[in-house]
């Protein structure tokens, strides 16, 4: 286990957030909450200098390290070692895909607009990546099986 550096300070006002760094290299960061097994982030810088990550805090019971905070730590760590050129969302399950399917069901929302309503898009825009580039889509509105999207400046 890697000793915690000064930039990893648990956020205030949260319950059961005690993060450990399991992996920290110039291109990979893996943080695990020792108080909650399904609460972690795995983030990496891809060869194309895109940030790719998976973050989890389950069950959604108000405890654990917030995903937004874990994302922030990953951003801080990886951007120290290189310039992040974009954020890649490879959604094959999870909240982002579920939200897109909910919004596009019945043809009420266009795919791009639905993506702009996701948690992943909010994280991307918070770092200056508001432009969408859809790399691949599998499925139909309301029943997308996968969405591969790149967020760019």
């Amino acid at each position: 286990m890697v000793p915690l550096p000064s930039w990893v300070q648990s956020p205030s006002g949260v319950i059961d957030c005690d993060v450990d760094i399991l992996t920290a290299t110039p291109t990979v960061l893996h943080l695990q909450n020792q108080q909650k097994i399904r609460n972690f982030i795995q983030a990496e810088m891809t060869e194309q200098n895109w940030l790719k990550y998976y973050v989890e805090n389950l069950p959604k019971d108000g405890t654990g390290c917030p995903g937004r905070w874990l994302f922030e730590l990953a951003w801080q760590h990886l951007s120290r070692h290189g310039t992040i050129q974009g954020i890649r969302g490879d959604w094959t399950f999870g909240d982002n895909l579920r939200d897109v399917n909910r919004l596009t069901a019945g043809g009420s929302w266009q795919l791009e607009d639905a993506i702009r309503r996701t948690w992943g898009f909010a994280r991307a825009t918070s770092k200056g990546f508001p432009t969408l580039q859809i790399l691949d889509v599998n499925g139909q509105p309301g029943r997308y099986r996968s969405i591969d999207v790149l967020f760019l400046p």
């Binding site: 399991l22 795995q42 790719k52 890649r88 490879d90 999870g94």
Partner: protein
């Protein structure tokens, strides 16, 4: 640097070469690796090492659980990962360990 057991990496490649499906490879990892709280991350890292994934191609694994309780079932994980492993074949097939 992360460390990987070369015999496990080699076995994953042999399984892929023998057309075994990714869900079978994951079940092999479940049996061979010591159980930890960060199991899925280790499986993702092993797949990345074995199949030369450099763009996070193994991330669907986070949606899979060996007991079937994950959002992605065996058929889903096989559908997502098989083409990704095949796409990188020229890199890993002759890579050794």
């Amino acid at each position: 640097m992360e460390s990987f057991d070369p015999s496990i990496v080699s076995t994953l490649r042999e399984m892929a070469s023998g057309n075994e499906v990714p869900s079978a490879m994951l079940r092999y990892l479940v049996t061979i690796l010591p159980k930890e709280c960060s199991d899925r991350t280790r499986w993702v890292r092993y797949f990345a090492e074995a199949f030369c994934f450099r763009e996070g191609e193994g991330y669907p694994i986070f949606g899979w659980q060996p007991d079937g309780s994950g959002e992605l079932q065996d058929v889903d994980i096989d559908c997502f990962l098989t083409p990704r492993i095949s796409k990188m074949r020229e890199w890993w097939a002759g890579a050794g360990v």
